[in-house]
Subunit: 108 residues, 2 copies
């Protein structure tokens, strides 16, 4: 993947898709966080929210990696986690889309 | 403080006061936590709640120490932080209450 070339247009498409997926991931965390916080009634519920936020923050940090050497793998993962649809990547080369599909079919 | 003797009655009074103060501290954290969570609108607000809960949990762990060698200091601190009133310690020996008052007057 390191040798794949990205045109300016592709970089633009990738950036937009990446930002939209990040926004989707954060919105999903926010929604779960708010529901858990509103339902909390015991101290242990508060600490469970703290743990949930910590896990979520680490997961976001691990998933969202904008290095071009990692980006196709990142996109495959984001599609798998339903933060991204393949249609948002329209305009990337057929080779890149095929690589992403191949990763998805291998369940990565 | 290590040599102070505690009667059974005093241990009972201390335990009840300690538990009430812990409940008060946790209730205050819960209330602030719920308000912050309800007001959160940006991802940074969520991470701020995570930090708040982490700080609060550490503070509770540090403050609440039921060793008899530490208990008068703990009670002084809890009175200072308004989780406890001296009246809840009625029944402890005058020597113990004087020690607590002395700690409070030194601002510890």
């Amino acid at each position: 993947m390191r040798d794949i070339k990205w045109t300016d247009t592709e970089r633009h498409i990738a950036r937009r898709a990446y930002d939209a997926a990040l926004e989707s991931a954060l919105a999903r965390i926010m929604s779960t966080f708010k529901a858990k916080a509103a339902a909390a009634s015991q101290p242990s519920d508060m600490w469970a929210v703290e743990d949930y936020l910590g896990r979520s923050r680490r997961q976001v940090d691990e998933t969202f990696d904008y290095r071009y050497s990692q980006l196709l793998l990142v996109f495959a993962r984001l599609i798998q986690e339903r933060h991204l649809e393949e249609a948002q990547l329209a305009g990337l080369s057929e080779e890149k889309l095929a690589t992403i599909r191949s990763m998805l079919s291998r369940g990565r």
